[in-house]
């Protein structure tokens, strides 16, 4: 390892913690979800403002990075070595961010209840399917009819509209203490299925963009492997549960409970990854399975500090990578994109909000909150934009429009979801003290310490 790689990672982490804590606290005091502040904090250090934390995927080089500039002066480094450090730092921070969202979904899985999730399974499935079909159809048709976009790029943009960021939506739910409410469980269930559907949609449009045809075999493979994985994880989980507790009780060295649990989450993440699903789905499934054990509470408490240090890296990175420059109407070439974006955003919101009214058999449910909970496109939407851009299918204005849509839905969703949840007091009451994730102001270990 080059000597300054560690320094650059440590400095990146310091920046992440400073802006995420500052942003989170300000957001909280403004009555908004803390995660919004973490995203905004990321924007402040990222490509849109300070350029302290930038990433090579978006075309940045070491000379675009304020952090690298500082290191170059401090360490008296030449351009070649700083370029190498920049690459390594970006890779390490990106992996840490991925570990962050993996641990977040593991924690969300631990907080979710498999039986509760099962009860709302059908409703969640309908929400997910409508939330994919409606924005896709509306978006694609609208672009072709209103903007005379060619069919293939229009399909691509429509596909980008289908995504839901499970990370952002579940984080807001847990921050507000609504994760275990019926609405919360429907949203989480639908977001998970949406993630699977999104991967299938992505595979379809990617092969369409590459070859002009749909690779039906691949689609079938994805559907089968995804369903197989989720069902398999839950069935295997029933069996693994008891062996997990037996293993944890036999171990005599430190981390007796945490290490087997964490290893299980990582193994599930790897399996999901290898069958072309997202790693976070594996971690979520692992959390769901371990939630069934009687070690749940203790495990929750040990996972929390790890989530506390890793999850902010994910949200700050999402913010840092969002280039708000495309939002500036003063730049003439942005204008065409912004008009398309206005259309895409309308579809993005309407196409998801209506899903709340597809929920049957729950007369008193907060339908608006469910629909709003599906709005944020987050990192999944950016993946679509990235693949579209790389394949050359999207022209500049359409690509910019997709990015604007992703950014705005991501940043608007946390306050909108909070508004929707708090406005309608017909909703199931928020979680009680049983959920450590919900207790934002007082960490449970502090509660325990007080009881002690």
């Amino acid at each position: 390892m080059a000597p300054f790689v560690l320094t650059s990672v440590l400095l990146s982490l310091v920046a992440v913690y400073l802006v995420s804590k500052l942003g989170g606290e300000v957001s909280k005091r403004l009555g908004l979800p803390p995660v919004l502040g973490e995203l905004v904090g990321g924007v402040v250090v990222g490509v849109s403002a300070l350029h302290f934390l930038v990433f090579p995927e978006a075309g940045a080089t070491a000379s675009d990075s304020l952090l690298m500039g500082i290191l170059q002066v401090l360490g008296n480094l030449d351009n070649e070595s700083i370029q190498h450090i920049f690459q390594s730092q970006s890779e390490v921070v990106s992996v840490l961010a991925e570990l962050g969202v993996i641990i977040l979904l593991f924690e969300i899985g631990l907080e979710s209840d498999l039986r509760e999730l099962g009860k709302v399974g059908y409703q969640a499935a309908i929400v997910a399917v409508v939330g994919v079909v409606a924005p896709f159809a509306l978006g694609t048709a609208g672009l072709v009819l209103l903007f005379h976009t060619p069919v293939i790029p229009a399909i691509f943009a429509g596909a980008a509209l289908t995504a839901t960021s499970i990370g952002i939506t579940s984080k807001v739910l847990s921050e507000l203490g609504y994760l275990k409410s019926t609405e919360g469980q429907i949203i989480v269930g639908a977001a998970v299925m949406d993630d699977v559907l999104g991967i299938i949609v992505l595979a379809v449009v990617a092969s369409l963009a590459k070859t002009g045809e749909i690779d039906l075999l691949n689609v079938l493979y994805l559907i089968l492997s995804a369903s197989g994985f989720l069902i398999g994880a839950i069935l295997l989980g029933k069996f693994f549960n008891s062996s997990f507790v037996a293993i944890a009780e036999k171990l005599q060295t430190r981390g007796a409970l945490l290490i087997p649990a964490f290893t299980f989450a990582l193994v599930m993440a790897v399996i999901a990854n290898l069958i072309h699903l997202e790693a976070i789905l594996g971690a979520f499934a692992a959390g769901l399975v371990l939630d069934e054990t009687d070690k749940r509470k203790e495990l929750d408490q040990q996972v929390m500090p790890i989530a506390d240090i890793l999850v902010p890296i994910f949200f700050v990175t999402v913010g840092a990578k969002a280039d708000l420059g495309v939002l500036n109407p003063a730049i003439p070439e942005n204008r065409e994109g912004l008009i398309i974006a206005a259309f895409l955003i309308t579809v993005a919101i309407v196409g998801k909000v209506i899903t709340g009214w597809t929920v049957f058999g729950q007369p008193n449910i907060n339908r608006l909150a469910i629909g709003v909970g599906m709005i944020p496109r987050g990192e999944v939407g950016l993946v679509f934009a990235g693949i579209g851009s790389a394949s050359g299918v999207l022209d500049k204005p359409l690509e910019a429009a997709i990015i604007v849509m992703v950014i705005l839905t991501t940043f608007l969703a946390p306050p909108l979801l909070q508004f929707a949840l708090k406005r309608n007091e017909n909703a199931t009451p928020p979680d009680d003290g049983g959920s450590p994730i919900g207790l934002d102001s007082v960490p449970p270990t502090e509660l325990v310490a007080i009881k002690d």
Copy 2:
């Protein structure tokens, strides 16, 4: 980030946790310190055996890595992309290992008591100085007189003999519950000072190897900056303590206590790094400072799970990088090195063990344990060997001899230290339940949960 980088890191972590838990548990059941098992687990997956986890610093390429071979088959990847993944995976795992030893030293700092450490400061200083001078003088003189080694390589080998691995020795102390004993505090204090002295020695021999002269200005700068840093940290700490508690109490979002503490540790690590000290010294100083606050216990409890998942990465990596091939006497070219190694090991042990008898004013102290606690050379010794090898000063047999010395002192020290501590019951009794690090079989959160 290339798509398979995350998979490769996740698989590396799974391997790390499997072998470290397995090794630790077996070691514990054999009555040996768990960390020895983690090191041996690292050897099993590393360059000496399975080649699952290998690192490019030692000259390995992707084709030497079993993990990369597996990934190449699973992902159907070409040689160029697998080489890129290998580089990224090695960088990420190395940084995670560094974060592991940083958090370990932060935890050791939190467990250490500044006042207790101050009480044994003089004794620790003498142990550190004798532990540097004796092995250096004996080793250099012996190589020149007995083996007719030229002076500069002999000085280099002598310098490699001065190191003490604070990570390994403090981990064993905490595992056995002796960290807070007088012996434990003398060893930790001396190991910290030894680290500072080691860096100065390293700077001297490196400039000697490069230019044939000693850069006195640089040496003076290092001595001043090191003393300035440690004294400054402690003075600033007194002031930071109260502001730290005030900040933590004002924060309302998750990680209110942990994130400011962790950020402080990282900032201190960066500062240490930038003034050419080791990052771990900064983390240790940060831990010492925060140990003075009344949030100590709570912080301890939250740092523990983070240490549980990061620290094993460090020890497994140390084991994985140790090439035991140089120990094989069946290979003729190893023999000359092994004879020199036998001499170096004798000096390495004798030169450190005698330091126990320099401790004054403590009639009932376990002198053998203190000396033995200074034996492991660990990663610091390997750094010397690496720099010597890179500068071309060392011939093959001498380089191999240094590596053998480092490996054997590292692997022998944990069982020897346990033997020395348990044999002599004159020693201060081991830590009571106050030290969570010492409680190996029952994690404190489990205790809390039972009380609940």
